[in-house]
Amino acid sequence: MRLLEFESKAILKKYQISTPRGRVFTSPQELSIDSPVVLKAQIPIGGRGKKGGVLEASTTEDARTKMEQLFSRNLGGYRPKKILVEERVDVAQEFFMGIVYDALAKAPVVIFSRDGGVDIEELVLRKPEKVSRGRFSVRSGLHQYRAREIVSDTGISGKQLLGISAILSRLANIFLDFDATLAEINPLVLTGDGQFMALDCHLEIDDDALVRHKDLMEIEKDMDRVESERSMTEFERKAAEIDALDHRGVAGRVIEFNGSLGLIIGGGGASLTAFDAVKAHGGKPANYCEIGGNPSVLKVKELTKLIVSRPNVKKIAVIMNVVSNTRVDLMARGVVKGILEAGKVPAETVAIFRVPGAWEEEGFKILSKYGVPYCDRSVSIDEAARMAVENSSI
């Protein structure tokens, strides 16, 4: 879940990181200013300034006009429903700090640059001496001394070093406390009067950890938060509700298409591979979805029922890579039960069941009993997709 700028800044303030004075508006009529301001569209995408989502104004009339412009703009597929109006800050110097999770090192990594602003990715290539990196442990957090080492590696010293490293250390606390996958302040600025301030902030929270942050979960449910060009379909909304039934595994992330072959496919790369393979063999998917992490029988059952109940769905293909933590027998139970509860016949509804791996002997016994066509790991995902397309046209 990506937090909007004002939501992220509210968290920064709780951790004593200064941000410009500002307020969120939902209509221009309430706006009245007595000093220059910056109007910022609250949308969950990067590069907002370049897309025309950040405007400046000096008078109330000018600010209202520009706010109306922002409300009516389509910015990268989003139409803002909230505008953050902030005091214009006198910037003397800009910095960048970000924390992401390094999956290879299995630790968060800090990236700090003594130059902030847009196009930070290019700066890393052009002037690598201005950028430093360092990892820290999720158990001990980012100690002050380590934060200072990372910042001083870019040549910053004295009072600036102490001020910036203190903010970096607090950002690391936010990263850990909120189960973030990304925490970024860009730019962190030094104002004309010598104060450090976060002008923009980007926080992304691990979706699977939202259960630990009830307040953020409520924010995510707020339908008035953002308006995207393509809103969730009823089918996708129901699938998301199924995925939220319990914490075990994933059985959701559904995207609706208008084909006739329903897909229950393994998460991550395997689901994309299976989806592409079905398309490559001339199949017309009715949906994309992701299954993984050993979902409960209940979740698989409900998702299967939802997919096979769509009027345009004639058959479904259940395709996953070789599974280790997901159990084949539990998948088989869920799929068969979902089809039965939808009032259909498993043998006639499943085009192919290709989920090899843990507990496959038990799973194959279930599929055999109901006459469901299945195959093991000797059949590739691509071959299984071909069989699914072939069987679904019978």
Binding site: V297, V336, K337, L340, K365
Partner: protein, 72 residues
């Protein structure tokens, strides 16, 4: 009721929650529940059974049987 799994408690052997209650404590998928002084099976959860057999091992009086209906 389970489509694939049937979990049965033999109450002529079961000594109840006070006497044992092991099944309710160990089941990782909450198939058992306290029903007064006895354990009971939540029928709609039966198919969540992972066949871990922890309940069978915890039951000192061998009162629990797990049947795989798809093998019958």
């Amino acid at each position: 009721m389970g489509e694939f799994i049937k979990v049965e408690i033999n109450f002529s052997r079961c000594t109840g929650i006070k006497g044992c209650g092991g099944c309710v404590r160990v089941c990782p998928v909450n198939i058992f529940v306290e029903n007064g002084s006895n354990p009971a099976v939540i029928l709609e959860n039966e198919d969540e059974c992972t066949l871990c057999n922890l309940c069978v091992g915890a039951c000192v009086h061998d009162a629990i049987t797990i049947r795989r209906l798809y093998e019958e």
